[in-house]
Amino acid sequence: MRWLVLIVGLSLAWAGALAAGDRSPLWPDIPAATGAPHPEGNAYWRANHMDLMRHDRNLTVHEGDRKIAASLKQCFDCHTARDDRGQVVTYADKGHFCRSCHDYAAVRVDCFSCHRSTPEGVDETAAQANALPPVRLGGGEAGSILAWLKRAGPAPRPEGGQ
């Protein structure tokens, strides 16, 4: 009986917190989208986006069907996140639309090693460089990792062993 009271009490407290609009700071901060909302609802897309995209990627790559809707390219028509300066961010930035949830769910996605994570026309080199933390280099010179890699050039080839 005591347990029942406790459970009911906790439920009421939780419901009260929800009603008050309190939101745990642990929840992901999802960037707002532009454009018309999904007619199937956000819950449906949250649960099924990976299945929809996988199915359509196979149709496109293998069968040449280009009349598809669940494509990454079209995601970014509406789900483009911007940083404080108003610049479009890439997946390298924590504020990227996909990353806001995937970081929360601890799911690493490989999409953006091949696909661009911004709409066509955005210079990802600049956006990516902004997202990376500045590093202190040997001569006390500060710069981004990408800029440093660019200056350093290709990695030296290891000497052939025996």
């Binding site: 007619p39 199937e40 609802g41 819950a43 449906y44 649960a47 099924n48 299945d51 929809l52 199915h55 359509d56 990627r57 790559v61 293998h62 069968e63 040449g64 069907d65 280009r66 009349k67 598809i68 809707a69 669940a70 990454l72 390219k73 890439t90 090693s113 091949c114 696909h115 661009r116 066509e120 210079d123 990802e124 080199t125 990516q128 050039g153 290709p154």
Partner: protein
């Protein structure tokens, strides 16, 4: 138009996927026979899927190809975004200019060489994951979702047509995704072909006035490429391997 039953479970499963995904682009098509498609309500053949009724190919006239011109290579790099980092040891090459020299006469022939889109592609034979595949219309591609970067296909290709992406890539084209750890090669500009267009190299070559490359359907006897192949002598590279490539050369 087929409306398969949705295989998705859950709340939205009663919505037929193809219905809502295609809403707003109502095209009805029916395949009457291989290569013959009846399309109604504003559709066009360009919107049809890759069909076994076509086989896309190139005919390259080595006599018309200028040794000093590399417009096709530049156009391909621009179109597909593989320009690279200036390191020839690791940069990708989807298409390259090759010069053949007859050691007896000293005569030199210049021509572009890219994926030959073989009917019997060795890269597909050796691929351990099924990433290397041939579409129904004869275009040989890499499905980079499945590619593990083992590079067997690069070893198997007699034309050295494939490249491995060694470094992280950003700023890809949306129609040509490419990334570190996967193999890639000429796609015959499959995104253009699917939209009813011609590959970027063919357009660039025509724009220079050389017109050395023709693109067309090898299965359509009325296409310009088929008529030229029927009328004039042509050759496949490495004919000894009997790969039946979709890319043919004349005046080699």
């Amino acid at each position: 138009m087929s409306c398969g039953k949705s295989r998705l479970r859950g709340k939205g499963a009663d919505i037929s996927r193809r219905d809502f995904l295609r809403s707003g682009a109502a095209v009805a098509s029916a395949t009457l026979a291989p290569g013959v498609t009846l399309i109604a309500f504003g559709g066009s053949p360009a919107e049809a899927r890759a069909s076994a009724g076509n086989r896309w190919g190139l005919l390259i006239d080595a006599n018309r190809c200028d040794a000093g011109c590399s417009a096709c290579v530049t156009a391909c790099a621009d179109e597909n975004g593989w320009a690279g980092n200036g390191d020839p040891a690791t940069d990708a090459q989807w298409i390259r200019k090759v010069t053949l020299r007859n050691t007896t006469t000293g005569h030199e022939t210049s021509m572009p060489v890219m994926c030959q889109h073989c009917a019997e592609p060795p890269c597909v034979d050796v691929c351990p994951t099924g990433a290397s595949f041939k579409r129904a219309d004869g275009i040989v591609l890499v499905d980079k979702h499945i590619c593990i970067g083992c590079r067997y296909c690069m070893m198997a290709c007699p034309f050295k047509a494939r490249s491995f992406v060694h470094e992280p890539v950003v700023n890809q084209k949306t129609h040509a995704p490419r990334g570190q750890g996967t193999v890639e090669s000429c796609t015959l500009c499959v995104h253009r072909v699917d939209a009813g267009g011609t590959p970027a190299c063919v357009e660039a070559c025509a724009a220079t006035g050389h017109g050395a490359i023709i693109f067309g359907d090898l299965k359509d006897p009325e296409s310009e490429i088929s008529r030229r192949l029927a009328e004039y002598p042509s050759a496949a590279l490495r004919p000894d391997l009997d790969l039946n490539p979709g890319v043919r050369y004349s005046n080699l």
